[in-house]
Symmetry: C2
Amino acid sequence: MSEPRAYRIRTATPDDAPRIAELLHAFNTEFDTATPGVEVLTRRLRSLLGGTATFAIVGGEPAVGVALVTVRPNVWSDAPVALLDEMYVDPAERGGGLGSEIMRVMIEACQRLGVGEIEINGDASDADAMRFYEAHGFTGSDPATGERALYYSRSI
Amino acid sequence: MSEPRAYRIRTATPDDAPRIAELLHAFNTEFDTATPGVEVLTRRLRSLLGGTATFAIVGGEPAVGVALVTVRPNVWSDAPVALLDEMYVDPAERGGGLGSEIMRVMIEACQRLGVGEIEINGDASDADAMRFYEAHGFTGSDPATGERALYYSRSI
């Protein structure tokens, strides 16, 4: 790991939409996943970041890392639940601790919002990501049963 | 499997909050999970079911089965994402197809809302639930990689 650099980490505003769109587009391009393109992502992000259900944490000026989070109500607690939908750091900036800094600031932002639980959906093939989540206090097991917690989905 | 019974399946209104609260309380009691109690759940459900981020499908009069769903925006599509937060059928009513009927009506309700993807978080120890989800078109693997899709969480 190289020497930690000093990044400014902050909550994004709708004006950050174009740069976050570039990062998310680069994310999907790097991992061979379909992307609607920077223009469409910019439009959506400008709208989402202006609302209360989505927030983003960005690091660097211009931003070279981002965490995108949705927050939703739930029935079991008055505290909302947050989902870390996306997290990406520019390949040239990796290894300097930016991802961990963004994760730390994202968790603090959730605390300020009164969030009770943060969730992440991941892929068993991505061992680095799994280790990263566990290093930041996340568990992939059901606390009650100790069994692997799974994620199911269906397109409609 | 016994003969399918005829249940009325419908989208819940805030007035269904007390009965859904009883079902969710029974759910957690059956599975030895903490519950805030019927009164607190009723209050929350009345509020949640009056908003746009949560809906419920109930079956039977009075309801003996329920699916509770949250809907959230996402950056990759204009179509929102739905999460099946809870699904419960009264033990006395199981085996008659009510769960499948509720699931089918829940998916139809998501289609009407323009949802693009439905998600469920599950526990690897609950093989019956996993089979039920798969029978209704859900997959526990990442479509891109074929790898197991995992769910991580952290309380704060």
